[in-house]
Symmetry: D2
């Protein structure tokens, strides 16, 4: 039931069983444009949950696995085995499945951050995928049309030389000690890795600024904090950034800022103009050409001079949201899988390695009295 | 690939061929939660367009019809024929298909307004559906979670007795004379009916205020205008309203208000508090209990005291939009079709008749020097 | 201590004793630019209050009157008597003082609405002022820089031919029955006149739309309501408007809309563009040229092409407010008094008569089942 | 013409001649509540400008000085000499006049930053004022009613223990090289001191966060930048902060951020709630009690539970702005001069010294590869 006359791509999923937030999101993203069909899964390591979750999703019992390695092996041998797999497990269970499926010649769609440790990320980057299997990292915010347009506007010179970048990603859901499926693994170094807030949402903020500006980081200077007593990972992140070419930036991420739900915001300033975009109202963006009135750019609306706009599903004023942005990554990856597009805008395994370097540099700098630290 | 272990409902579509806006929207809405599968269509009355549109949508050639009556007849006779049909044609082609499919025992999902003339609407209301076939009118704005929550808050007495309702729906896309598929039929009395702007978006605004407040209209006083020379239908709508019980309202709809994309907004004021919701940023709503600070209610966020919130797919701060609201109607209708839910919140054929009465009353009042006119 | 080397104008005040809101506002407005000096007053009809109020304001006891007629007579005979008087009494005590001071050759600054009854307004318009004494009606919202700029932009054709005007002025302070000095006279027909909400704030909204657009009203169609039991005047106003030349409008004013403090808002739409201005954040204005992105015009900021901006005291980003706008009327009137300027933008006695005709037409139409009623 | 029956305080001014921005602001602030009367000035060091400026301000020629020391000497000897003086010169001419007038027993109102060098500030703090003369530093943003209310709310525990503070003050007026009276001295180390942007607006941001939270700074980590070629002082300021007790903060100030006029914004987060206030719309403030809907607090509106609100001149919805906040400092200082109030909320010479320590620490840290640096 896609819109382009093409057969749906057969998709599997690792993780994403009952009560998973991000697995559900990936499934909607896969369905929305009709490009994928979920036919197999290792949805949980607990057999009963895996089985029941598969049943609810219409996956036939024989393709409901409890072990991702078995799944990779079996599916790669089936005539109509899965062509791609979505990995939606906690961070420490990204590396294993990603390696297994790439080596089985199955395309991988992996949630971020890439892994729980930089070493794994580097190892994953060394994997030689069978049959040129492709990799997509779901830094989903890059799928928003206005984020794409912002990137075009920067690349097209509408802002001039970039000088200052302010990015922030405050939330409040961990303001107090909290225990549930979502919170528990994110605050557990075994599962999340060395970064808490910095890995969970700091990497999104960092990826977003790099996606829009294209700047390379020279060094960062970080001050991570853990405010909630007993928590083992950072819950507030203060970082100053220096970019190659001279631009400077600030990044704030927090899980303890009451009144903030998911308030990712990016501001970019150059010598000719500025941009501001907020994830919570993603259909609008401020463009401020220096010396002229601020303009409100809208998704699907009149483009700013030189910024040609980005593809949208429905007209301006009909808000698209988080799920549509996520679905865009899936659908563009479908075109890559079909070898119709090169997916130049899609987040790569390289972006994932960069994100891990960012986490490591932030933790290292913070542990070294905020010394300027390169990403390496 | 739904989420509930249920087989997908087999769906057909009338209208919605290439270049259709609303057909595409209906298809995404049908796909998003995985509850429907499109398997047949009379997508265009032009055979070539019907055929090619079907091909792109993965509909097999033998189920690509050019005549909706044939489609109703054939599909109702198939073992695996469609269970429901989406009617997404211009207004003057709502009545025929709706009647044909209901009488064929196939559930109908029909775009608004119900028909192009009140007589058709009344006739449709008299149709006896075969096999108790159900009817859904896609007043899609009622699918937004915060609109549902607003209704609950009013019903729960958080606003007290309702006194004043201000609703508006300005757009700007018809500010100048424009010719394209979308504009042409909407400005053609043969296809659109007696109402232009009042039928296309005025009915949405009117439906929204009734959905949220539950008030019955006593009479309205209208002043319709056509500003663009040569246009044959109204493009700006000014209406004053009186409701049973004493509340009063204003409704403004316009297609000629530059700077407005799809700016549907509802404000409701009672003797204990006020509410304000805007479609273009549908994840936020103002609640103003009298004598206390205004509160910003968010979709999926902390509920206001007494308003219990409405079902959402993803957490607060992750914006859902127009397509999700539309999909909610489809998915809830799926539960109705499966006889699992009564669909108490879904827009009905009766709402469609009420909308037609609204159009007629508005045009009549406007033609009678804005005399107060009852809806009958 | 003005800024222009000119001697301060000697000012008197009628009304404005202790606990007066608007008298205090007038005094700050008179002081702010250093153009006036308050030297006399009939601040209250209660001698003790008049005396004590005068003492607090530094008015010498012999110029603290209890009778405005005596004040007009005495002051006009003094060598250094007042040159201008501010009338800040309830509506029913506007006519008497205004007539007395104009006939005594003293310039009059009068709060709005002009009088409590249209007959008084017409009679006042017939008064022949001694010594060409001038008259200022304090429709203070016309003193906001961006309101001035909006007027220029309309006059300069940036919006094209005006089609639609939406103006609203909701408040919530009378949502419940309330008794205090401010509320009591405003809800008393003896003191306020035939209009309640329509006179108190409806006239502001009406004056604002006329100031910005320059349009003449053809007729109006009104539905006034009194929601609070026992209240003797309207507290909610719904009006549709038709203007000469074909434009149409809506005006909503309310004192019973919870969550609204003083939310005067004007929107104007023409065939080339739209404007939106809100009094509660008066330093910003939307300008929407059709087919281009919306622009945020700021007070003192970069002007929109063709709109040259309006005089401001302090740079963009340093908000000016209600008092500065009010002071602008005073200071420009000072220049009129000194015969340095013609005060072309200042609200006149004619504007006051128009406001009274507006009130009468609104009440008449509402009493006649909302019949279209001309202003006469 | 004050409102309290008190004689106006006789005021002098140093600096503030024609074309001065801040001198004009101080004069309006002095006039607005009628508490001061400007009677003397050394308005410029250029005799002709001093004379003409004085004439325009109604200062008699014999009290129009060109030398502030002469002015201090002469005025302190007059029977009706000035009681207070406003110092509105560039930073490097703060110390001299402040010392001279304090030692002459004349109260001093001084613009910020306190001086151009820390040594001067420390020396000024050692001056023994004659006759217990008082000192006011015009960190004017502390005069906004909602800033006062924010301070009360923090002090009252509504936010719980403060964890994170984000303050920013972006402007865009120095995005390109610019030469005029305002820009020239601010970018000249001789006149401005060692800090450019950090002194001009960074100190405001820093003072604001301390005023609201009452926190003491432990150390800061700064990265200052100069983006415009040839500029001799910083025009962009990135600072991380650590406070005693464990709270952390970020401060961003910029003069090169296109689209920002005067966008001072403060956000404070504790374990019980958050606050957000923006100077450009100073009549509104967000209060976010954790686990409850965000509330919009308004100046003069309904107070948040426990925050009692702050004095305002006019009711909620009637915006007060920059000049009113500035005037509040003047009027409260008048009460201090009259020994009626202790002025506990007014910025002091000590605050000025703290501001200078802040500038020095920021420059030092930035020069030392962003090493954490204490304020001393």
């Amino acid at each position: 039931m896609g819109e382009n006359g093409k057969r749906r791509i057969r998709l599997g999923m690792v993780g994403g069983g009952q009560d998973s937030f991000i697995g559900y999101v990936h499934r909607i993203a896969a369905r929305l444009d009709g490009e994928f069909e979920l036919v197999a899964g290792a949805l949980s390591s607990r057999p009963e949950v895996a089985r029941e979750s598969a049943r609810l999703l219409g996956i036939s019992p024989e393709r409901a696995y409890t072990d991702f390695e078995e799944m990779a092996r079996v599916e790669s041998g089936l005539e109509n085995g899965i062509e791609a797999v979505a990995i939606v497990t906690p961070n420490h269970v990204h590396f294993g499945p990603a390696k297994a499926f790439l080596e089985a010649g199955i395309h991988v769609i992996c949630d971020k951050p890439l892994t729980s440790r930089l070493e794994e990320a580097l190892a994953l980057a060394e994997v030689v995928p069978k049959n040129n299997a492709k990799f997509l990292l779901t830094h989903n915010y890059t799928g928003y049309p206005l984020v794409r347009q912002a990137r075009e506007m920067v690349a097209g010179g509408l802002l001039g030389n970039i000088r200052v970048i302010q990015v922030e990603y405050p939330q409040d859901w961990l303001t107090e000690e909290v225990h549930n499926k979502q919170a528990d693994w994110r605050t557990d170094p075994e599962k999340s890795g060395t970064g808490g807030c910095v890995g969970d949402i700091g990497t999104h903020a960092y990826n977003l600024l790099r996606f829009v500006t294209g700047l390379e980081t020279e060094a960062l200077c970080a001050d991570l904090a853990t405010f909630v007593p007993g928590r083992m990972l950072d819950d507030n992140v203060h970082i100053m950034l220096r970019f190659k070419g001279g631009a400077k930036g600030m990044l704030w991420a927090s899980q303890v800022a009451p009144g903030n739900e998911n308030a990712l915001k990016l501001r970019v300033y150059g010598d000719k103009g500025g941009l501001e975009w907020r994830q919570e109202n993603p259909n609008q963006m401020w463009f401020s050409p220096f010396g002229k009135p601020r303009q409100l750019i809208t998704r699907g609306g009149v483009p700013a001079g030189g910024g040609e706009g980005a593809p949208v599903r429905i007209p301006a004023g009909h808000p698209e949201g988080y799920l549509e942005a996520f679905a865009t990554l899936y659908s563009e990856f479908a075109a890559v899988i079909r070898a119709e597009e090169d997916g130049a805008l899609l987040p790569t395994l390289g972006d994932g390695v960069e994100g891990m370097r960012f986490i490591v540099a932030a933790v290292t700098s913070s542990n070294n009295d905020s010394q300027w630290t390169a990403l390496e």
